[in-house]
């Protein structure tokens, strides 16, 4: 074991020594900066657009983001195998304790978790919180159940079995969805609970938002929870929901922003907040922030500066790409707070060059 390790370490050191120059000579003009990120599939369509657009302005910065789920993002950033993580579910105190350094949550955008479905001849569906819980608890098993027909008098609901699709991987989207269900359904809260990986009573598991959307798309009669972008990009119909105020709301960007408004007043300093089942007539009940997770103190000054600059760009210029991809922009007062947070990032104790200075 030791011999193999030494051999590998030698090869690795040789490889690293040959290839990696950044960080070694800060004064000399070094090669391109590569940032590794991993995590939530929820914002993946947006992040992949950002990464591509940012590279056009800064060709020397390459950001490789892999969507492996919020659970994966948290784990990999904790183990420092990536430069930044991403998660829709804010990290719990226990998870933060485990990290070798202080991790900071940077909210980047707002999105909606929608209940998408694949049902022949049905393109619109209205659901109440009880119905959503009933479907995912496995209590409502056929599409033509009278409980489903009640709020949908015009829809021709066929006598097909309901196939639920859920996330098999550790998912922030699951955390948001189950957080909502736990709030609106005591039965759900007791039986299943909320979290990134819960035991769903019924259904088929798929990996990532991509997998669940794929599952819904290929299986007639299926229903699942996905981020709005995935439903829109794949032409999956999704349901309108009755919110806390009793109004039926569609997951539009304005409704998502409305859900965030309520939380602004009481926004904690670390931005960890849940905005599901929000107050307000226009609020869409399953909305969520999504966060990028970075260490307060960056190990590599050059990379840290590049990361901070990217994040600065994301919360300013990056916001204009959101509407096309069905994400809602961050509220203006939140952007100010996030700017302040970005300015507190350091490397080796020294503050990073002010992001948004040159080339922001």
């Amino acid at each position: 074991m030791k011999r193999l390790f030494c051999l590998l370490a030698a090869v690795a050191a040789a490889a690293a020594g040959c290839k990696k120059e950044d960080g070694a000579a800060p004064a000399a003009p070094a090669g391109p900066i590569e940032l590794q990120g991993a995590g939530a599939t929820f914002p993946y369509p947006l992040y992949s657009k950002w990464v591509s657009e940012y590279q056009k302005i800064h060709p020397d910065v390459r950001i490789n983001y892999q969507s492996i789920g919020s659970g994966g993002g948290i784990r990999q950033v904790t183990e420092r195998t990536v430069d930044f993580g991403a998660s829709d579910a804010p990290m719990t105190d226990a998870e933060l304790q485990k990290a070798p350094g202080k991790l900071v949550h940077i909210p980047t955008t707002l999105g909606a978790v929608v209940v998408a479905f694949n049902l022949q001849g049905v393109t619109a569906l209205e659901l109440t919180p009880e119905l959503v819980a009933g479907i995912f608890l496995g209590q409502i098993t056929r599409w033509n159940d009278p409980k489903l027909a009640a709020p949908n008098p015009g829809a021709k609901l066929p006598d097909t079995a309901i196939t639920v699709a859920y996330r098999s991987d550790g998912s922030g989207t699951t955390a948001v969805f189950t957080d909502y269900l736990a709030k609106v359904s005591p039965a759900w809260k007791e039986k299943v609970g909320a979290g990134k990986s819960v035991k769903f009573p019924v259904g088929l598991g798929a990996k990532g938002n991509e997998g669940v959307a794929g599952q819904i798309k290929t299986s007639p009669g299926s229903v699942g929870y996905v981020e709005l972008a995935y439903a829109r990009q794949n032409n999956l119909p999704y349901a309108t929901l009755k919110n806390k105020a009793g109004k039926v709301v569609a997951p539009e960007l304005a409704a998502v922003s409305a859900a965030a408004e309520g939380a602004l007043a009481s926004m904690p300093d670390d931005f960890r907040v849940s905005i599901t089942d929000a107050e307000g007539d226009a609020a869409y009940p399953i909305s969520s922030f999504t966060y990028i997770l970075v260490y307060q103190d960056q190990q590599d000054a050059r990379k840290g500066a590049a990361l901070a600059s990217f994040l600065w760009w994301a919360i300013h210029d990056g916001q204009k790409f959101e509407a096309d991809l069905f994400y809602a922009p961050l509220p203006a007062e939140l952007v100010t707070k996030v700017e302040a947070k970005l300015k507190t990032l350091t490397s080796g104790g020294k503050p990073l060059p002010a992001p948004g200075g040159a080339g922001g």
């Binding site: 590998l8 690293a16 590569e34 590794q36 993946y44 657009k49 195998t81 997998g211």
Partner: protein, 283 residues
Amino acid sequence: MSAPSEPYLRRRIVDVAARGLCVLMTVLAILPLLSLLGYVLKQGLGALSWSFFTELPRPVGEVGGGMANALAGSAILVGLACAIGMPVGILAGVYLAEFGKNRFGNAVRFCADVLSGVPSIAVGVFVYTLVVLTMRRFSALAGGVALGILMLPTVTRTTEELVRLVPDTLREAALALGVPKWRAILRVVLRTALPGIATGMMLAVARAAGETAPLLFTAFNNRFWSASLDKPMASLPVQIFTYAVSPYDDWHRQAWAAALVLVAAVLVLNVAARLVVYGRTAR
């Protein structure tokens, strides 16, 4: 001549029925292969294009782009696996053939056989703990190590068998000329066995090129060009998996195209390996 007797007729019927059953089983065995190859060919050909081979993936949801980085990445990873698996495997095989008729040799053979049956995902987990956590990053190196470990048993056993096949007369002739034993083995025996070893190599490469599970937590994935050993690297099988389970139609098309490329590569390697073998035995 009298008519065949009753019991003989029954035996003939059983014989024909049994043979027919075997033919039926063979047809059943080949049907899925033909279906798979047919679909890969049909869907894949339609999706192949110049941009597939030369472009990088586009942002999620946008149509177009290609898998150029995954193609290059697979080539690099397999090359790395060969660099690790080949020397170790060939020299181990030489040891087993020349000096290995002892307890240690038996232990090595045993371990090689066992290693060839270990699920590739277990190898991936092992390399994650060994390399990825130690280096604190996903890397092409980790992927190469995982694939190299998977190649090791095949290369070792093939080398051993082929070196054993080299006639002793060659060895004795070399020794009689005063060549030191080690030189004789390297220059004469190994060189003679080389075509066969190359065959084993091709088959091992074909296996490594198609492995997905161990790469999931070692080389990870990368949407850019990358040639560094200490960064994540895209690979064809991982890309096929990611695209296949996604909801995007364009990604599905690209997955079929990638599958076509992968199957074609594996096919070519297998056919080439067979040709080498037949070429030798046809002498």
